[in-house]
């Protein structure tokens, strides 16, 4: 029954899109999500039109972070236990080559130049910068213990890394080639995300249970957002993934074992909604049209589909074991 309902909901969304911009809807219909399954060594391919898994692709060991190239033709996959970043040709679904990545790559961010990949090496307390065209390591720089979150500012000036045990956001000046500042946040920062205008940086702290919003100009925290869900102990509210809408008005925060995604109004920093998703939700991805959002639910081994404008979970899709990252191509 649920499935039928979901398809209907989607049909309505698609219809609305068709009426608005037919050409855009065409591309929307071809949208495809790639979900890394950490404990299965696979990537699940989800067709966004039917919201079903169409393929399960074998990849390297312990795949975690995934991201698409700017032209959406290439999918980069952190194969953590293979100590490499794999490069997949999206059209043929084949791994064309591996990039040198440093040891244990966990998460990464692509520079706006589309060329340089900034990779957090969790076991080594370094970040590796790789030239994806030359397929070479450009340089490495030292960060704190257990680097995880990676973000590059929209203007390309800053590369941010968060280190889980050092509890800092490290500010790497891309031009200078050095870490020039460090902002302390709450326990166990997991993820960093710039606002589209590049003015603020959002950092989630898993054990601290908070999200810190940092002013990029001063590199000082301006707001710490807490969360509260009735009937869930505060220690189980563990923010990990953060995604902001293109208009910058809304943030979505995945709350881990609290099994909810918080919706935050960025003007007031107030939580407006808590959406119940699968168990241990970590990362999220918008479809390019922002009509839908997919969340990876590690413990339940599935992906929840959120209707973004309606703020509703419309479907659950079973994927592999421990889904970790998600990237969605138009």
């Amino acid at each position: 029954m649920k499935k039928v309902f979901a398809v209907k909901t989607f049909a309505a969304t698609a219809l609305a899109l068709c009426l608005a911009t037919p050409a855009f809807a065409q591309t929307a219909l071809a949208q495809t999500a790639y979900v890394s399954n950490e404990k299965d060594n696979t990537v699940s391919v989800i067709d966004i039109k039917s919201l079903t898994v169409t393929e399960t692709l074998p990849v390297g060991k312990r795949p975690r972070g995934v991201t698409l190239s700017r032209d959406n033709k290439t999918l980069y996959i952190c194969a953590s236990d293979s100590d490499t970043v794999q490069v997949m040709d999206v059209a043929t679904r084949t791994i064309t080559h591996n990039l040198p990545s440093g040891e244990d790559p966990e998460q990464f961010a692509l520079h706006p130049d589309g060329k340089r990949l900034f990779i957090a090496n969790e076991n080594n307390a370094v970040v590796t910068i790789v030239d994806t065209e030359a397929r070479k390591v450009v340089t490495q720089f030292d960060v704190g213990i257990e680097p995880e979150g990676m973000a590059v500012s929209p203007d390309g000036q800053w590369a941010i890394n968060t280190s889980e045990t050092t509890n800092m956001a490290h500010w790497y000046d891309v031009e200078k080639g050095a870490v020039v500042d460090n902002t302390l946040v709450d326990q166990r920062p997991r993820h960093a995300e710039f606002t589209k205008d590049g003015k603020f940086l959002w950092v989630s702290s898993e054990i601290g249970g908070t999200v810190t919003v940092i002013d990029v100009a001063t590199r000082q925290p301006v707001k710490t957002i807490g969360f509260e869900i009735k009937g869930i102990h505060k220690d189980r509210i563990q923010p990990v993934g953060v995604k902001l809408t293109a208009d910058g008005k809304t943030a979505f925060v995945a709350l881990g074992p609290a099994n909810h995604v918080a919706v935050v109004d960025t003007a007031t920093f107030r939580v407006t909604d808590y959406l119940l998703v699968g168990r241990r939700v970590w990362h999220m991805g918008f479809t390019p049209d922002e009509a839908l959002m997919l969340t990876t639910n590690g413990v339940s081994g599935d992906v929840s589909v959120i209707d973004v404008p309606a703020r509703k979970v419309v479907k659950t899709i079973k994927v592999g074991r421990y889904p970790w990252g998600v990237a969605i191509a138009p």
């Binding site: 076991n123 704190g144 213990i145 220690d235 563990q238 074992p257």
Partner: protein, 386 residues
């Protein structure tokens, strides 16, 4: 930080600004001749505790270099017949104020009796004895190792939740086995379980050869759900599983074991901690290593948050409301103000798997469910001034 920090970074290249904060921590252990045990598969590592402290220093320096903080560890290993009180006096004379100990209860008590100890903050990473958290507590003593009561309570919550409330308690011949048994009895009472039978293990034969006959006879008789064993040195307990007369699980110091740490723990970045430790020490991290690691990390976390190396400032920060330290256990951990015990989740482990974690869901507490483990404020026998 603000303007000051920006200024500092602006001038980071000039030597004049390189005012590194130097934070010194000592770790104190004692050589111990392990008692003879039947099997020696995993002999207790001689550098237990030391390795945990070393790793925490390395971890803290990785963070410290971004804040111009440098951590140094002085290691003191007292010989078996040595005097831990004299060692404390010497550490004090060398200017040490933070001392992490991985000592047995008697050696720790002796160390704390040294007059110089009064001016120090001492971490207990080696002694699980409940008396040190109650009548023997001290204002300047913090415990990062869980107490026996915490371990037994963790096990009790799991067994009660499983509806296995009838326990057959087997107690080894050593004094610490009696203390473990005390904790098990206390836990049974607290959580509504019942010790339906209790027997002392005399340990005068090689149970490896005779277990199949002996343990079956030994456990024959009463109806029970779980065989709970108190054998801290691991002399005979590991030979009890599968040998009982009735098909019953074994728990306690063998079988399903509550412990501060174990190799099967991997969530919340524990894998990374385990791998760093193995690369450094060439072996797995033990509960005492973990307790020493978190003790050093406690001092470093206080220094990071306060940007200070001052003893009084750091001691106050560690005891302040809201002080938290990362524990790789998925929860915020902090020190209980009434007895200095680090409240923490307790994993229930087999050698290769994590079975469960306490506090178990449903065991409620008005402040934090972590305080359902061990001596809670109203039960505490600690009279030391706070």
């Amino acid at each position: 930080m603000g303007a000051a920090a920006l200024l500092a970074f602006g001038l980071a290249g000039t030597p004049a600004m390189a005012q590194e904060l130097d934070i010194r921590i000592a770790v104190l252990t004692q050589e111990v001749e392990p008692p003879p045990t039947l099997a020696n598969l995993d002999p207790p590592p001689p550098d237990e505790g030391l390795q945990g402290a070393r790793l925490a220093i390395a971890d803290s320096n990785t963070a410290g270099k971004f804040l111009k903080q440098r951590y140094r560890l002085d290691e003191v290993v007292v010989p078996q017949d040595g005097d831990t009180a004299a060692a404390m006096e010497k550490l004090a004379a060398d200017g040490h104020r933070f001392v992490v100990t991985a000592l047995r209860a008697d050696a720790l008590t002796k160390a704390l009796a040294a007059p110089a100890a009064a001016g120090m903050l001492v971490f207990n990473a080696g002694a699980p004895d409940d008396v040190l958290r109650n009548a023997g507590c001290r204002t300047n003593l913090l415990h990062t190792l869980p107490s026996r009561a915490m371990l037994a309570d963790a096990l009790a919550q799991f067994l009660v939740k499983k509806r296995w409330p009838r326990w057959f308690l087997v107690v080894g011949p050593r004094p610490e086995d009696a203390l473990y048994a005390d904790a098990v009895r206390r836990a049974a009472k607290r959580f509504g379980a019942k010790i339906v039978a209790e027997k002392a293990w005399t340990g005068d034969s090689d149970v490896r050869r005779t277990a199949q006959a002996e343990v079956a006879t030994f456990t024959q008789g009463p109806g029970y759900d779980v065989l709970v064993v108190a054998d801290e040195v691991g002399d005979f307990g590991n030979y009890l599983p599968y040998q009982t007369w009735d098909p019953r699980p074994v728990a306690g110091t063998a079988g399903l074991v509550p412990a501060a740490w174990g190799r099967a723990i991997e969530a919340w970045g524990a894998v990374q901690l385990q791998e760093r430790f193995k690369a450094q020490a060439g072996r797995w991290m033990t509960p005492a290593d973990y307790a020493a690691w978190i003790a050093v990390r406690t001092v470093a976390e206080a220094a990071t948050r306060t940007r200070s190396g001052d003893f009084a400032t750091l001691s106050a920060a560690i005891r302040a409301d809201g002080f938290e330290v990362g524990a790789h256990k998925g929860r915020r951990v902090s020190y209980r103000p009434w007895d200095g015990q680090l409240r923490q989740p307790i994993p229930l482990l087999t050698p290769v798997s994590l079975v469960a974690e306490a506090p178990q869901e449903g065991f409620l507490h008005p402040i934090t469910d972590l305080d359902t483990l061990g001596y809670d404020r109203p039960e505490s026998g600690c009279k030391a001034p706070k």
